[in-house]
């Protein structure tokens, strides 16, 4: 059963990645939007050097949030076209496999965006990264939490007429705790401050990711219904 679940996860993920590699619907937009926002803020704000690490953390996650929000509706467009979403919901596969595949595809896009945005800010503002592993774990947990709930709400929006309108309304309140924790933890890591605080925020992010992941696995079946 686990083997079948893993195989189904892989087939759906492979299909999504293949479609994205041919259509270039989401990832180029994500990166373009992310870079534009970062570039505007990065050059537009004349900040004192001491504030840069703190601002970089928040700016990175604001960019991820906005770019992700604007492209999330595009994620499932290939499914919505020609009734493919209805077909996907009728296959005899566990909805959790489909959910995890969709989540992985979205998380890969967000990881590309995070790498570009964080890399750009670190180079632009010449911020040294003292704890790369901590930074990586915060980025991963934040990504996982945002992608998990984004995938569920994105699925609801796909299966609903005029569903795109509800995306921001539903997502933002659910994303705020994650964004708050991730921005705080990233800023603390980049400022090389208080490891104890960083650990607490990382635990908070892990809790958010676990709750959203569990909720996604349980709710995705209903989210897929048209």
């Amino acid at each position: 059963m686990i083997r079948t679940g893993v195989l189904n996860w892989w087939w759906v993920l492979q299909k999504d990645l293949r479609i994205e590699s041919r259509a270039w619907r989401v990832w180029p937009r994500l990166v373009a939007l992310g870079l534009s926002i970062t570039f505007l803020f990065g050059y537009g704000l004349a900040l004192p050097p001491s504030l840069l690490p703190t601002i970089a953390g928040s700016l990175c996650w604001i960019t991820v949030c906005l770019a992700s929000l604007l492209t999330l509706s595009e994620n499932n467009m290939s499914e919505k076209d020609h009734g493919c979403w209805a077909a996907l919901s009728q296959y005899p596969v566990a909805p959790s496999s489909v959910f995890l595949a969709k989540l992985t595809a979205h998380a890969i896009g967000l990881a590309i965006l995070q790498s570009v945005v964080a890399g750009f800010l670190l180079v632009l503002w010449e911020i040294p990264v003292v704890s790369p592993l901590r930074l990586l774990s915060v980025m991963l947990l934040g990504n996982l939490a945002l992608s998990a709930i984004g995938t569920v709400v994105g699925a609801v929006a796909t299966g609903t007429r005029n569903g795109q309108g509800i995306l921001a309304l539903v997502l933002l309140p659910l994303w705020i705790p994650v964004l708050l924790g991730a921005a705080k933890a990233t800023s603390l890591i980049l400022s090389d401050e208080d490891a104890e605080q960083v650990w607490r925020w990382t635990q908070f992010l892990a809790a958010c990711a676990t709750v959203y992941l569990a909720a996604g696995i349980m709710l995705f079946e209903f989210a897929m219904e048209e």
């Binding site: 087939w11 299909k15 479609i19 290939s78 009734g83 493919c84 077909a87 996907l88 005899p92 596969v93």
Partner: protein
Amino acid sequence: MRVDRPSPTLIQAAGLAHSISGRTVLSGIDFAMNAGDCVLILGPNGAGKTTLLKCLGGAVRLQAGSVIVGDDRRHSDRSTRRMVGLVAHESRLYEHLTIRENLLFAARMYQVRRPATHVARMLDDSGLVHAASALPVHLSRGMLRRAAIARSLVHAPQVWLLDEPAAGLDDEGCRWLETRIRRHCREGGCCCVTTHRRDVFETLRARCLQLRQGRLVADRRQVSGVATSGEPAHREVA
């Protein structure tokens, strides 16, 4: 002395009712199909034909009544979905995947054994070998319809639910479809087709159900071809 055993019931609906936005689309539908049955569902636009097929195929959550597929199993169960193939209005093909990739994906989702071999056979059977590497957007409407039918039936289900399957098919395509339906019913499957064009499927000699405003108003056996007026002649079978 030969004793005819009754054919097993493959799908059975009882007391089906469905509403959309407060409007009753189906009401009090009782209907069953046995192995070897071919049923045409006829009716004007808005009669509830597509909704009935969606209810039978598990594409919508049942609001009232029940659908049993095979041996007393609920149609919403994942295992019973392999028994049903629903050809919908839309092609349900991913536009950035080739026809072969689309069929292969569907076959894998249905856990078909040796999916590549099976898909190659389906492509051959559907006359799509030369179009296997093409994207859906590059196919004619008729070929797209064949590909959509092949995708929906890739897992060799016993119960075929075809919603206006002849739409977009030329005469040869219609004959291909009729032959496939006849072969499927002969091999112990059953088939339910919604159509506006009874003449397309006249040689099937199917059982005809007339739907009007969400209710089954007639259950007849198609016994002869098209009458001179263009309206197919039907005779009720006692």
